[in-house]
């Protein structure tokens, strides 16, 4: 006699927070929109590369892929330290940071939870880039 196996499935109820879902969807839409804009900006010869990330996704496009980690750490540090400085002087949330180095410069922004860093040559027009990216 062959015994039939009985598979018992227990369904775990999933609680969906509608507000949270809509925020995530909104974030994804903004992320996609920003990614498109960044891809367009990236074509400029003065742009070295960019990083965009939010809580769920990240895109990196850099001239020197072997330095991704360095750029990512730097990008994160710029936004964290800038927010620290802004908090010290009670200036609220940071909207953009321009950091100019001897060799190149970086424009970092936080747009609706999407953290963006654009690395560019010193001659690049950051105001124009900011204009293109800003919603």
């Amino acid at each position: 006699m062959v015994k039939k196996k009985q598979n018992q499935e227990t369904a775990t109820p999933i609680m969906v927070d509608e507000d949270e879902l809509s925020v995530t969807q909104e974030e994804d839409l903004t992320y996609k929109d920003l990614s498109d804009k960044l891809a367009k900006v990236r074509k400029d010869k003065d742009i070295i590369g960019y990083i965009i990330r939010n809580t769920t996704s990240a895109t990196v496009d850099l001239q020197e892929p072997e330095k991704i980690v360095e750029y990512a750490i730097f990008s994160s540090q710029v936004l964290d330290s800038s927010q620290d400085i802004s908090d010290i002087f009670e200036l609220g949330a940071v909207s953009s940071v321009l950091i100019e180095g001897k060799e190149s410069k970086a424009l970092c922004m936080n747009i609706e939870g999407n953290k963006i860093s654009i690395f560019m040559e010193k001659d690049a027009d950051e105001a124009d880039i900011l204009k293109q990216i800003s919603p």
């Binding site: 360095e70 620290d84 940071v97 950091i99």
Partner: protein
């Protein structure tokens, strides 16, 4: 000593910047992680916290090279941290602040004050050296006089034990000892002669604006009168006729200068330049150039 000179000069400048721009909420200057000067409304702790955050950022900045400037735009205002001659100037301003005006003031005033303070500091150190040298000479001359009259070392109370022994040992060593003050006399003299030397011309960054018209001489630029005023204060007895202008690409030219006529353009940190000079420098309206007076 050097920090005191800088601190005094820079503190006054920071206060003046705040007076001129009420929208500047806080400003301070730091170097090597230490606060050099701050305005009276900025707390030491606030400045130190900012320096800590800034240091954390610069440690990771290898990808872009040494940090020259950071501009943080926030919901309620802006923070600027700019490297000026190895000093970092931090300016916190409200959203309403006239960005161009604040930048012009800080870019002109702070470098000039730093340069002036640099000039004052070595001069005061030189003076101190001379005073010490003279005191030593006086003491040693007294010692020699005592030796001549008494021919003994008992009177040389101020001398060290070694010097007394040397004097007793032999005449040749005494000669060497007497030769030393002569050398020391010779040393300070050239330093005294150098005192009238004028300070190095300060380089000021100005924004290029077009200068055109039928009667405009093509070999003359028009410089912000605030800058000319600073130069005149620095070189009171020297008549300044020409300036050296350097573009960002490194090209330089020497030309005559006059002050900007229109009062509305005063204090904006601009240099009006005929097309011919712009072509020579390969620069154009809106770009930055460095200007310094030629001292002859």
């Amino acid at each position: 000593m050097s920090n005191e000179v800088y601190a005094f000069a820079l503190k006054s400048t920071l206060e003046e910047i705040k007076n001129a721009c009420p929208d500047v909420a806080s400003n301070f200057i730091f170097k090597d992680g230490k606060v050099i000067a701050k305005d009276k409304d900025t707390e030491e702790e606030t400045a130190i916290k900012t320096i800590t955050a800034f240091d954390a950022l610069t440690e990771r900045a290898d990808t872009i090279g040494d940090v020259e400037k950071i501009t943080i735009r926030s919901a309620e205002g802006k923070v600027d941290i700019a490297n000026i001659n190895d000093f970092y100037l931090t300016t916190v301003s409200s959203k309403e602040a006239d960005e161009k005006y604040v930048n012009t003031l800080t870019r002109i005033l702070i470098p000039i004050v730093i340069k002036v303070a640099e000039k004052i500091q070595p001069a005061s150190t030189e003076n101190e050296t001379i005073t010490i040298g003279q005191t030593e000479l006086e003491e040693e001359n007294e010692v020699e006089a005592t030796k001549e009259t008494d021919d003994a070392t008992e009177g040389t109370v101020d001398q060290t034990a070694d010097e007394v022994e040397d004097n007793e040992n032999n005449q040749s060593e005494e000669e060497t000892a007497t030769a030393e003050p002569e050398e020391e006399i010779e040393e300070p003299e050239p330093e005294i002669e150098e005192e009238p030397l004028l300070p190095e011309p300060p380089a000021t960054q100005l924004i290029v604006e077009n200068l055109s018209g039928l009667l405009v001489p093509s070999d003359t630029v028009r410089v912000d009168q605030e800058v000319i005023k600073q130069w005149n204060e620095l070189y009171e007895d020297t008549k300044l006729k020409e300036v050296e202008v350097e573009a960002l690409n490194g090209k330089t030219t020497r030309c005559k200068f006059k002050q900007i006529k229109k009062s509305k353009d005063s204090g904006k940190g601009i240099i009006k330049m005929p097309e011919k000079i712009q072509l020579t420098l390969e620069t154009q309206q809106g770009e930055l150039v460095t200007v310094k007076p030629i001292i002859e």
